[in-house]
């Protein structure tokens, strides 16, 4: 059979509920993950698209690329894959999640080299549970029908879909290549590992919870409804802590307007926090 042209799809429509931040907009080594993934994918496929939710159409970062918007809301990754196959049903689709900062070119090249077009998909075996990993996989045109059948039965798990389908399963050449980033802790570890071009092999630490004291002043004190609180958090940096508290306490000030103090001294938004630290977010000042 003749080779079906391969298109690339980067899934960026996730709600990032655990991270509470747009994973495509996370930075590693000074570059957005969105850009990193697209740079990796683009040279390996005939065309490359960013999969988005309909409400992300106006996002300028995503609009810099060709986009495919979900046809139906809230289906998760399978909705993005479905929209792509629906838009270009005669192509194979190399689908990638956007929370795979360790993904390397060799892993994608190996997947493409071992692509089995006669099957529904070509995927890696997860190094965690041995199940097919759907979010770094090639979906062949015939998968469209199976996806539509799944959706008709309200089955939205792409991993389950692949697990019961005729899939070419490969072992990962680099077992850490598909480690994903779901929490602030995982992001901090990945950020540290990928922060400098000279960094060696990444290691992911166990999630650490810190006990922190937060003090509030002025407008933030009024919005938080308290002067101080103690909390246990996985936030690694003041910035992650603020994002967490902004949701939790309904703080309206954007971090761009604030400074941060750690242990009674001006601090850095990105410096790691330690257990027992006291953190103060400083609203715009007005002394004198």
């Amino acid at each position: 059979m003749s080779a079906t042209e391969l298109y690339g799809l980067l899934l960026t429509g996730g709600r990032s509920r655990r991270m509470q931040r747009d994973k495509a907009a996370l930075e590693y080594g000074g570059k957005l993950q969105l850009a990193r993934a697209m740079e990796l994918l683009t040279p390996l496929v005939a065309r490359c698209f960013v999969s988005i939710r309909a409400d992300q159409l106006s996002d300028p970062q995503r609009a810099a690329y060709d986009t495919i918007a979900d046809l139906r809301p809230d289906l998760g990754p399978i909705g993005g894959i479905h929209a792509a196959l629906h838009a270009y049903p005669d192509h194979g689709w190399l689908v990638l999640a956007c929370d795979l900062p360790f993904l390397d070119r060799a892993t994608l090249e190996h997947l493409i080299a071992r692509r089995a077009q006669a099957r529904v998909a070509t995927a890696y075996r997860s190094s965690f549970d041995g199940q097919p990993e759907p979010l770094c996989a090639i979906f062949e045109p015939r998968s469209l029908e199976l996806i539509e059948q799944s959706l008709a039965r309200s089955q939205q798990c792409p991993r389950a879909l692949l697990a019961r389908s005729d899939v070419e399963l490969l072992d990962l050449p680099n077992p850490r290549a598909l480690d994903n980033v779901n929490t602030g802790q995982e992001y901090a570890a990945a950020y540290a590992a990928l922060g400098t071009p000279a960094s060696g092999a990444p290691t992911i630490g166990a999630p650490a919870r810190r006990r922190l004291t937060v003090r509030y002043f002025a407008l933030l004190r009024e919005q938080a409804g308290r002067s101080t609180e103690e909390l246990e958090t996985q936030a690694d940096t003041p910035r992650q802590l603020y994002d967490e508290l902004r949701q939790l306490r309904g703080l309206t000030l954007a971090p761009e307007f604030l400074r941060v103090a750690v242990n009674d001294e001006f601090g850095d938004w990105r410096s790691p926090l330690s257990d027992g630290d006291t953190v103060v977010f400083l609203p715009p000042v007005a002394g004198g």
């Binding site: 907009a25 996370l26 407008l219 941060v260 103090a261 938004w269 609203p283 000042v285």
Partner: protein
């Protein structure tokens, strides 16, 4: 007495200036900031200052040392109010003593400008129309979008009046 100090009751300039007396100094300059009854076109009834005291004290001390190095003044001090203030009350006091008047004026100006921009002190204004607001904060709160920002940003300079 601390050279930089926070006070929750009336400032006493006569007491504060005593620490600046020095036989090598021929000039003394002071600045007093008073509570004004209007701001940004609104009628102000009273004020409230809130401070993050430990950091305000550190940063205040740094500002005074900078002024001394920059302008060669001999002594410098600053006192700032916290709590509720009425119209006309003294909110902030700066004093410096130097061999000559020029550096005394310059250092005094430097200190009050830095104090307004750098100290973790916040001012809430209570207006005649019953409204109230934190100066420099409300417009930032209004500008804030409900969505979280994209990539992490470096802390910006504070805007301050």
């Amino acid at each position: 007495m601390q050279r930089f100090s926070l006070h929750d009751s009336s400032l006493q300039p006569e007491q504060l200036r005593r620490q600046l007396q020095d036989p090598t100094c021929g000039g003394y300059a002071a600045f007093e900031g008073w509570v004004r009854d209007y701001n940004d076109g609104r009628s102000v009834l009273r004020l409230e200052y809130e401070a993050f005291a430990p950091l305000a004290a550190r940063e205040g001390e740094r500002i005074l040392i900078e002024a001394q190095h920059r302008y060669g003044v001999v002594r410098a001090a600053c006192a700032h109010r916290t709590g509720q203030l009425a119209i006309g009350e003294l909110a902030v006091w700066v004093g410096v003593s130097a061999p000559h008047r020029g550096e005394a004026f310059d250092a005094c100006r430097y200190i009050i400008d830095q104090v307004k921009h750098r100290l973790p002190i916040w001012k809430k204004e209570y207006y005649q129309d019953g409204d109230s607001g934190w100066v420099n904060c409300e417009r930032c709160a209004a500008a804030a979008t409900p969505a979280l920002g994209h990539a992490a940003h470096a802390a910006h300079e504070h805007s301050s009046g």
